[in-house]
Amino acid sequence: MADNVTPRVRVPRSAAAGEVITIKTLISHIMESGQRKDGDGNVIPRSIINTFSCDFNGQNVILVNLDAAISANPYFEFDAVVPEAGEFTFTWNDDDGSVYTDTKAIEIA
């Protein structure tokens, strides 16, 4: 399991019904690409976050399939429609089977 994996998400606290908002997400993860070698010359195996998804009240906003070329501490910025008050759920899936999640509630102004 990767160490110290901390998700950080920026979502506006409120929005008008039907408004499009911008969401920014960051997660601290080394994203070991599988290209590096350790001191003995052995290849350090790939261990990255391979999927990120954002859902709102059970409906999908975006699903990202990541490859090793995504930088360490993967950052994503995207737009979402807010039809009603509710909760955004963010999910990151790691190669090693770990799943990291975060949630953010939003109100209708």
Binding site: T22, I62, L63, L66, S71, F76, E77
Partner: protein, 139 residues
């Protein structure tokens, strides 16, 4: 020194043959990645924009933004990396726009290609050439 006509012809023929031999290239992996996404369909030149720096000072983290109004998904590949795949954005029903920003690793100066799959099943392609001063693949 006199080279005989026979020797010259043999030399010329050999050179022509060598030129025809297939050179190893990264193009195959890139073409495979695109074909897997599009199923071999044609790609339009417009409808998809890539915003990325012309010169990336740090190959470990190169910002890239893609936008394709009406797209269902957008795939990004880095043609000069050991593995071309960067990521694929799949927009769901609550996506506010077909636009996304992320940061990627580039091993060296190369073309980054984005392919968008539109809602009507067509595809669009855009290319950005990014110069990299310090490569980002940890090699």
């Amino acid at each position: 020194m006199n080279i005989s006509r026979r020797a010259t012809l043999a030399l010329g023929g050999g050179a022509a043959l060598a030129a025809l031999l297939p050179l190893p290239s990264f193009a195959d992996a890139n073409d495979d990645a695109i074909a897997a996404f599009t199923g071999g369909a044609d790609m339009a030149d417009s409808g998809l924009t890539i915003t990325a720096p012309e010169i990336a000072e740090n190959g470990n983290t190169v910002p890239i933004e893609v936008a394709a109004p009406g797209a269902v998904s957008i795939m990004i590949i880095a043609t000069g990396n050991p593995n071309p795949g960067v990521c694929t954005f799949n927009f769901g029903p609550l996506a506010g726009s077909q636009h996304a920003v992320t940061r990627m690793r580039l091993a060296r100066t190369q073309d980054v290609i984005a392919v968008a799959k539109m809602a009507d099943g067509s595809f669009a392609k855009a290319t950005a050439t990014i110069k990299v001063t310090i490569g980002g693949c940890g090699g």
